[in-house]
Amino acid sequence: MRAFAYERPADLAGAFALLAEHGPDARLLAGGTDLIIRLRDGSIRPRLVVDVKRIGELDDGIRDTSDGLIIGARTTMTAIAADERIRRDYTALADAAAVVGAVQIRNRATLAGNVCNASPAADTAPALLVYDARVVAAGPAGERRIPIDAFFVRSGVTTLAPGEVVTAIELPVPTGRRGAVHVRRTRRRGHDLAAVTLACSIDAAGVTRLAYGSVGPRPVLAWGDTSLLADRSASDHAKAELLERLFTDARPSPTSMRASPDYRLAMLRVLGLRAVRAAIDRLQAQGVRP
């Protein structure tokens, strides 16, 4: 690895000062499971790595508030996948966190790091989109909340401003019961990046939210009337036709080595229907019929 300096500020003010001084020559380090790979392969060459894990204002907990669940910037995938509240109320996120890498990766990787890395294939991204998560960003000018759909731009690029630090991810309070699921397609069983990653949530009123990733430069929240998907009397054929329209923003890269565009689009349709069925099953398991 190329040499760089390492700092671990004790508070946000210290982090802001380092980011202001070093600008684009500084990179933030949370879990490191993406950053250290890129430091080693030379695709990023910062002069300074700023470790956020000793910043006093950042925590590794998951807190209940009137605004919803607040996941601290240091919270790992392992903690998220195991959290009872997330497993109950944000099931798709628990599903997704449980398949990020293998145990060793999940023990280090953070949700905040996963969203800041902004990989199109990030497994937590579709779930966060489905749940209307907000990214809490702090900067020298104060704190702001960025809707997750307005956070992702393209691979590796977000709307986080230079000098800002993500301090938490917020999940709004659920408005009622819902069945939600995360599904993915990988080249092999076990530990792999997804060729398609998708989340679906259906509530008791039949409102269906669907988001998908790894089929374009950024994860996408499907937009449009989705009510047919939760309709038990609608045929799979009708649902598949609707999904086709909801997936129009899928633009798989022709140069990716993980899967061809045709395969990804075909699997997106399969996973879309499968996720709708699984979400309905989970809703019914709670005694709710959409």
Partner: protein, 169 residues
């Protein structure tokens, strides 16, 4: 080059080590502390050969800077055996013939220890998931899984960081 002094506990022993800012925990363990049981292999967090236990959880030491380990308690494969014997997981690996070429085994052992510390009696599926981040190029997975299940059936003699010695088979 920026040297940073870190204080950490390795296999129960306090160590104070100057490390380069851009060196990983793996490099510190192998090159600075001479603990070469932890293996360097893929360096992208896929193979698990470099797995060690940091503050009770398994991590890929190739994806952690040495500086991040300041203040941490680390267990490496060298910390599993007592003064005159191997621990129950190592004994089970020997009993089932889980080690073939042996290169992945330190990482497999550390993942197995970390799994058993959380799930004392895992199912086969839980063992597969718990060790999914450890590849074996000899493809000795069946024996490795069998070994972990066997170890789970034996009484745990210690806390999983350095067990009291028992005679080697």
């Amino acid at each position: 080059m920026t040297a940073i002094r870190i204080e950490l506990t390795v296999n129960g022993r306090p160590r104070s080590v100057p490390v380069e800012a851009h060196h990983t925990l793996l490099e510190a363990l192998r090159d600075d502390l001479g603990l070469t049981g932890t293996k360097e292999c893929c360096l992208v967090g896929e193979c698990g050969a470099c797995t060690v236990i940091v503050d009770g959880v398994s991590v890929d030491s190739c994806l952690m800077l040495a500086a991040e380990a300041d203040g941490a308690a680390i267990t490496t494969v060298e910390g599993l055996a007592g003064t005159d014997g191997v621990d129950r997981v190592q004994r089970a690996f020997l009993a089932t013939g889980a080690a073939q070429c042996g290169f992945c085994i330190p990482g497999q052992l550390m993942s197995a220890r970390a799994l058993l510390a959380i799930t004392a009696h895992p199912t086969k599926a839980e063992v597969e998931e718990g060790l999914a981040g450890n590849l074996c190029r000899c493809a000795g997975y069946e024996q490795i899984i069998e070994a972990v299940l066997l170890a789970a059936d034996e009484p745990d003699a210690g806390d999983g960081t350095s067990e009291p010695a028992e005679p080697a088979p």
